[in-house]
């Protein structure tokens, strides 16, 4: 169970202070698939980064399974079972896809095991296992590898920041399948996805709408979906996939 209590986050510019998250509180149960949506610039990605420890709140506390993790760094949170998939995957000169998956798994992975994770994300493993995670890979390929690094970790809380950004329609179908499989594979794992894709929202247990740094709406999919369909918070895949 993840709990945020009165969390705020602001950035100080030269002259003024911008509040990105404002006194936000929420609870996410252990077995839930939660999609966080809302208009661009509303604070969704910042919230994801606060959960992973990449940013620290300026006020409020964050708890994971009852433990206060507010002061813990990225590494410590990762060790507690928080996984994070970046919206813009990072490139590494010299590190191969196999190296990255090994680091993610925290152990030596056989080629067969590593290929298993790549196949999950729809990459023909043989073609990719020895490729460098560098600029020679397309945005979509990097994105799928990024998701594979989260699959290779045995996390109890997986956070995906706009996983569909930059991937094609075929991968999009595959992405939905990955999330469904992740959910059925471990009932105790909670998955948080930042997205405004209608099809991702459709597989959610819960939807949280964030706008202007605050929770605007929250509840079961069945309740929230009718309210947001057709708005910026729930777009159809042909719309905003790129």
């Amino acid at each position: 169970m993840l709990e945020l209590k009165n969390v705020s986050f602001s950035v100080q510019n030269e002259s003024d202070k911008t509040e990105i998250i404002r006194d936000l509180s929420l609870k996410i149960a252990a077995d839930r698939f939660t999609v966080i949506t809302g208009p661009n610039g509303g604070g969704k990605s910042t919230l994801a980064r606060l959960i992973a420890g990449i940013e620290r709140p300026t006020a409020g506390r964050i708890y994971l399974n009852g433990e206060d993790i507010t002061e813990l760094g990225i590494t410590e949170r990762a060790k507690l079972g928080i996984g994070f998939a970046f919206q813009q995957p990072v490139r590494f000169k010299g590190l191969s896809v196999h190296d990255l998956l090994k680091l993610a798994a925290g152990k030596d992975l056989s080629v067969t095991e590593a290929c298993g994770y790549l196949s999950e994300v729809g990459l023909c493993a043989r073609d990719y296992i020895d490729r460098e995670v560098n600029a020679s890979l397309s945005g979509g390929e990097l994105k799928r590898i990024e998701i594979a690094t989260v699959l290779a970790r045995k996390v109890s809380l997986a956070v995906f920041d706009e996983p569909e950004a930059g991937i094609d329609l075929w991968s999009f179908q595959n992405l939905i399948r990955i999330f469904e499989k992740m959910r059925s594979a471990d009932k105790n794992r909670s998955i948080i996805v930042i997205s405004h894709q209608e099809r991702i929202l459709n597989i959610a247990d819960e939807i949280i709408v964030i706008a202007d740094g605050r929770i605007q709406n929250q509840g079961k999919k069945e309740t929230i979906m009718p309210q947001i369909t057709g708005t910026d918070s729930a777009v159809n895949p042909c719309h905003k996939v790129m």
Binding site: A52, I54, G73, I74, T75, A78, K79, I82, G83, F84, F86, Q88, P89, V90, F92, K93, G94, L95, S96, D99, L103, A104, G106, T149, R153
Partner: protein, 308 residues
Amino acid sequence: MKKMDEIQKRLFREIADLHELPVGAYNLRANSALAGRQTTPNIDIQSKTDKSGIDITIKPGTKRESVHIPVVLSESGITETVYNDFYVGDDCDVLIVAGCGIDNCGTQDSEHDGIHRFFIGKNSKIKYVEKHYGSGDGDGKRILNPVTEVYMEEGSTMEMEMVQIKGVDSTERTTVAELKENAKLIVRERLMTHGQQTAGSAYKIELNGDGSSADVVSRSVARERSYQKLDLCIIGNAECSGHTECDSIIMDEGRILAVPSLEANSTEAMLVHEAAIGKIAGDQLIKLMTLGLTEQEAEEQIINGFLK
């Protein structure tokens, strides 16, 4: 022939991955003396009579053979200049492994300056691997100043892998090459400096024949207070293609000067240079930390990958 001690064996392992005597031709040099030599029907090794060094002669048509010529210094205060010449016949396909390891626990400087010249015959393919390594905690410096000259005949290919990752206090590397028609040179250099080390690496590659090409990629990391100067020059005198890439990570108080230069003396010469110096990207550290690595572990993985 002297028997090798444990330090010498360790140095041989570091620079040439030698756990036992290599298969094929070899010449092992330890503390300025011969520590082992083997020739094959196709590869001959002779000591020079006028100065220190050896002549390695590879018969035309020699394929799938290897020559190892590593050097180690484990006594403090040795200064030596060694001249090794490789005469490679036409149509060969051979692996050459060189390299130098210095262990200096004493107070006097130890220096090995290896001057290697390669005369590569027509259509021959050579893979050359050279590793430099230093260890020992004495005040005496470990100095290596290698000079590599490569003369390539028509249609020949030379792939050079040059690695200096640890422990060499001061190095001035000079590599010059002249290529005839359709000759191809590929260089992959990996360099890491730390402490107060200084390293200079200069390349001057002349593409003289039509269809000749060179691809030089240098990746380096300067840590702590070390200094590097990378000087990559390609001269195109014919219808040729040349590419150099100089990619460096700078850390702590390290300093790097990259001096790329291209000279085209023919309108048909296509020459490209890329250079980048920067610190490790914050996003790279964060990504690896979200996988459970500490910041220090993340940094090590990024550097290891970069220099792989």
